[in-house]
Symmetry: C2
Subunit: 102 residues, 2 copies
Amino acid sequence: MKRNEHHFLKPETVENTARIFKALADPSRIKILYLLSQETCSVNHIAEMLGMTQSAVSHQLSLLRNLKLVKYNRDGNTYYYTYNDDHVITILNQVIEHVACE
Amino acid sequence: MKRNEHHFLKPETVENTARIFKALADPSRIKILYLLSQETCSVNHIAEMLGMTQSAVSHQLSLLRNLKLVKYNRDGNTYYYTYNDDHVITILNQVIEHVACE
DNA sequence: ACTATATATGAACATATGTTCATATATAGA
DNA sequence: TCTATATATGAACATATGTTCATATATAGT
């Protein structure tokens, strides 16, 4: 095939695609999102469940928040986080199943 | 939910999942895989199409090869690379569509 | 107002990652 | 055997990334 016979992705599309995969490319974030796929959780609850420090969890939630992959509802001092992108959760589960059955 | 009411992923599953997403978390590799999803390509062809050096392409193919996401057939001096994991290609296309329609 | 609690955030640090450059390897052709 | 071609690979480098530590912010209870 020659150059103009290929379909090329727009640079913007490539960057945005990489951004999504980068968000999922870390064990801590995978565990956080998998947990949130089962239940809305406070920051401390996530930290306890996953054996992470509060700070580490908060930094990762900040990243996921910026990508709009999670959102939160505040109740007093407590922030309850929820996933915010069904499609990304679906893709996460697909890959988990993909690697689990091999 | 309490600890034992959650489903937890095995550490191995988390690691393998992260490995797949890491492979897809780079613009160069996204472009390479997207190109290979359309056509079997030699290393030089990939480099020319994507405006990358031969060395950079080769390093990335080496990484994708180790993860068994691509394979190659050799013909003399030329290595023809093909994708080797339909499921991963499907997931790549899903995310591309996901980010394209927003 | 004071204290405790929950979370966010910035700086610093170590590690991982992607590219480049130089070079090695291997095959084909003369 | 000499040369050209195609690819792989190691070292070096700059940048990105994830955690920790210290601290800031904000709310609730007394």
